[in-house]
């Protein structure tokens, strides 16, 4: 991939004041106790049938309101109509529990554009909690997903999971316990994730194969890895241009409970912010503290252990290029890395009581394009230093490279999410 910085073209959408047809479920009768314990509780069959029926009958502009209560569903919900809003009474008030789920596997699968979901909790799904597959203009606001038994490999993979989407806003939302990534945006374009909280997931927040993303003002703590920006092979697009700023990324030291073979299973416990094989990533103004492997890791797909010639689409770029780490506030971390290789490396270089510097780099570089200025890794002095771990030579000659990387890259431009509404698809269709 050639790293000219592409200008961002924010998707311009017309703010729409849609005629809203409220379709309230309140007539359903039964309100269960929101504080009831999860467990062997009855399935609200009538509620589920009515709610799924409303999702089937929804028209563009429909608002499906889900009343307060802890509702038990045994089958996943699905939506395929554009322009629909699903609204709960608040994430503490409206809880959809899928503990008894027999089919799905998602809690809610939306294959729709101009979709907004807000004010509810989805918990204990067998698979992904909220998956949005192929759609434009997606808003996820004040939605909580969680697995109430805490971190377990058998939990669903993804919490909030828009994939192959454009113009996506995730805000005020939370994920707890996802066995892959809590808040995950994949193969998408023009994305903002802000004011969210991710805790006890393998990956807290992950941006994968996505173009133009801003991840800011989030809290990622107690995950295996806090915030990840990845590019995996074989997918519909390589990602680039992600800004990670003004987040709190603290003590992501949870043992990795992802199933082997998943991309995130390669992430060592104690990873703060991780860039893998992605390009044009700007990490700044974050508080990154006490992540025991390293506060920041910059790495290549070669370090995941998943590379094979046969299994990788030709043309895939496994190198991180154009990565800037500047003006962050670091504290602690690097003192207890995960995995034998890294433990040995840390002890050999810094002693038993020492610690890695704030930035750990696996050292893979594209021999075909050495020293291209805009493809450099640049780390400023707000980080305590950069260790090139010499991954290509199995960590034989690791060395501190802080001074070599005191360069600057042009800042990336902000992502703008304009508006999401029922008329947006009509507007974008008209402009197409």
């Amino acid at each position: 991939m050639h790293s000219t910085r592409p200008s961002r073209r924010p998707v311009v959408l017309v703010a729409a004041v849609a005629a809203v047809v409220a379709a309230s479920l309140a007539g359903c009768g039964r309100h269960s106790d929101p504080n009831a314990r999860a467990g062997d509780l009855p399935v609200d069959a009538e509620f589920a049938k009515k709610l799924q029926g409303q999702l089937l009958d929804a028209k563009p502009g429909t608002v499906v309101e889900i009343p307060a209560g802890r509702w038990h569903l045994d089958r996943g919900l699905s939506l395929r109509v554009n322009g629909v809003t699903i609204r709960g009474a608040g994430m503490e008030q409206t809880i959809l529990s899928f503990r008894e789920q027999v089919a799905g596997p998602e809690g809610l699968l939306a294959q729709a554009s101009d979709f907004t979901i807000e004010g509810l909790t989805i918990e204990d799904t067998k698979g992904d909690a909220l998956k949005i597959n192929s759609g434009d203009n997606i808003t996820i606001r004040n939605v909580r997903v969680r697995w109430t038994d805490g971190p377990k490999t058998s939990n669903g993979a993804y919490g909030l999971y828009p994939v192959k989407t454009n113009n996506v806003l995730i805000e005020g939302s939370q994920s707890f316990g996802a066995a892959d990534a809590g808040i995950y945006v994949g193969q998408s374009r023009n994305v903002v994730v802000r004011n969210c909280r991710a805790e006890q997931n393998v990956a807290g927040i992950e941006i994968e194969n996505t173009i133009d993303a801003d991840v800011h003002d989030n809290v990622a703590t107690g995950n295996t890895g806090g915030i990840l920006v990845f590019n995996m092979p074989n997918l519909s697009q390589p990602g680039h241009s992600t800004r990670v700023f003004h987040n709190k990324v603290d003590a992501n030291n949870l043992g990795n409970f992802g199933a082997k073979g998943t991309a995130v299973a390669s992430v060592p416990a104690g990873s703060g912010i991780v860039v893998n094989s992605n390009s044009l990533v700007e990490i700044f103004d974050n508080d990154v503290t006490d992540n025991a492997t390293a506060n920041v890791i910059i790495s290549s797909y070669f370090s995941t252990g998943y590379f094979s010639t046969k299994g990788t689409q030709p043309g895939y770029d496994p190198y991180p290029r154009g990565i800037a780490v500047h003006d962050n506030r670091f504290k602690g971390g690097g003192d207890s890395p995960d995995g034998m290789d890294l433990k040995v490396l840390k002890t050999a270089m810094f002693g038993l009581t020492g610690h890695f510097p704030d930035v750990l780099w696996d050292g893979y570089v594209d021999a075909a394009r050495p020293n291209v200025p805009e493809e450099r890794l640049c780390v400023d002095a707000t980080a305590s230093g950069v260790l090139n771990a010499d991954g290509p030579n199995k960590y034989k000659n690791p060395r501190m490279v802080s001074d070599e990387l005191r360069c600057k890259l042009a800042p990336l431009s902000p992502v703008t999410i304009r508006a999401v509404g029922a008329a947006a698809s009509a507007a974008s269709a008209a402009s197409a």
């Binding site: 799924q52 799905g104 799904t125 058998s154 669903g156 993804y158 519909s236």
Partner: protein, 383 residues
């Protein structure tokens, strides 16, 4: 047209004979709008004389390799109004005209008790042409796919206990049944009737376009002989003769391998099985295109078929395996692991089954075991 009329008369005569019923059943009704509450509103299938049988002019059909649905048997039918026909396609589902009605009735041979059903591949006597003996089978649901002016509509109907009528259940349903094998061993399972959107999650093969399409009636999967009431005939030839299909080229037509036919190459059988059971989602623009795993019969046999390909979004579905298919090593491959699971979030396909298709899993395992070569990967994962 004349042929259609004749065949209709022949079917009518058969029905009259079977049912000893003097009154001719009403003709098939194409209902252009709305969601009829009863299956009988369509007059596709008649319940008479203890049998469920296709109405006059309704052709039963069968597939070379069918989708696995918890060992359910399926009575499939096609009907079109007079004067219109589908356009042949060599590789996609036929382009069906407005007015087409496809139906698929899911049933099991009974194993005694009301909810006990047989796990068997043996066909019911007379099925599909002469319909089903209702004293021998447990009807579960009939899915109606109707091609209206605005596109396809899907309507799932669930049969009543008396097997006299099926009612529309747009939000799906569940039934607890017991699957009894040849040794008399029973296994309880939940049969899940999908909701309309779940129907679409397989039948919409282009997510962005959102267009619903039939899946089974493709040339390669219809190209086989069926025992019709008036004798055996190739299904595509029969459809042409019925006026249901035009544009069929002369010469050899594509034909999928029968997944159960041990005489055919195992790779062809396995690809045919994956084509029917997985490719509605796992193809270029469909639901699972985000995984880049392409399991349709037309795709190349490279990483996109899963060869040495690491998982993308499998979560616990990897079963701690690294790659979808490791040649020669079914136990190290993700694909058979997911086929052999019934756990939500692990199992594949995600919908349409709650039991394991043992014979299907075995086929895929045998195929992988027989594959030459290896993945040249550096397998070392973190400690």
């Amino acid at each position: 047209m004349r042929l259609r009329l004749l065949s209709g008369l022949a079917a009518l005569a058969t029905l009259a004979f079977v049912a000893s019923c003097a009154r001719a059943p009403a003709p098939v009704a194409f209902i252009a709008d709305g969601k009829p509450e009863h299956l009988s509103d369509w007059h596709l299938l008649n319940v008479t004389g203890g049998r469920l049988a296709p109405n006059a002019g309704v052709l039963p059909y069968d597939l070379v390799t069918p989708l696995f649905s918890d060992y359910a048997h399926k009575l499939r039918t096609v009907w079109m109004p007079a004067g219109v026909s589908a356009n042949y396609s060599p590789d996609q589902a036929f382009d069906f005209p407005v007015g087409t009605i496809l139906s698929k009735t899911f049933y099991y041979p009974r194993a005694g008790a009301a909810d006990a059903v047989l796990k068997t591949y043996d066909a019911e006597p007379g099925a599909p042409a002469a319909g089903l003996d209702l004293s021998r089978v447990r009807l579960v649901e009939t899915r109606v796919l109707v091609r209206r002016a605005a596109g396809w509509t899907v309507l799932p109907y669930v049969w009543n206990a008396e097997q006299t009528e099926a009612e529309l259940q747009r939000t799906g349903d569940t039934k607890t049944l017991e699957l009894v094998d040849a040794q008399g061993h029973g296994e309880k399972f939940t049969y899940v009737v999908p909701n309309e959107n779940q129907c679409a999650s397989c039948h919409v093969t282009n997510l962005r376009a959102g267009e619903f399409s039939p899946l089974g009636p493709k040339a390669r999967n219809l190209n086989r002989t069926l025992a019709y009431a008036e004798g055996s005939e190739n299904q595509i030839a029969r459809w042409v003769r019925a006026g249901f299909l035009t544009g069929v080229p002369a010469g050899e037509l594509p034909r999928a391998a029968d997944w159960r036919d041990a005489q055919q190459p195992i790779a062809a059988r396995a690809r045919s099985y994956l084509d029917v059971n997985c490719a509605h989602c796992h193809q270029a623009s469909a639901t699972a295109s985000n995984t880049s795993l392409r399991l349709d019969a037309l795709g190349p046999a490279d990483w996109s078929l899963g060869l040495c390909k690491p998982s993308v979004a499998a979560g616990k579905g990897t079963g701690d395996r690294i790659q979808d298919i490791v040649p020669g090593k079914p136990d190290e491959s993700i694909l058979p692991f997911r086929l052999a699971s019934t756990e939500g979030g692990v199992m594949m396909p995600e919908l349409g089954r709650t039991t394991v298709h043992q014979e299907g899993v075995q086929l895929i395992r045998d195929w992988i075991a027989a594959m030459p070569g290896h993945c040249d990967s550096n397998h070392s994962t973190k400690d």
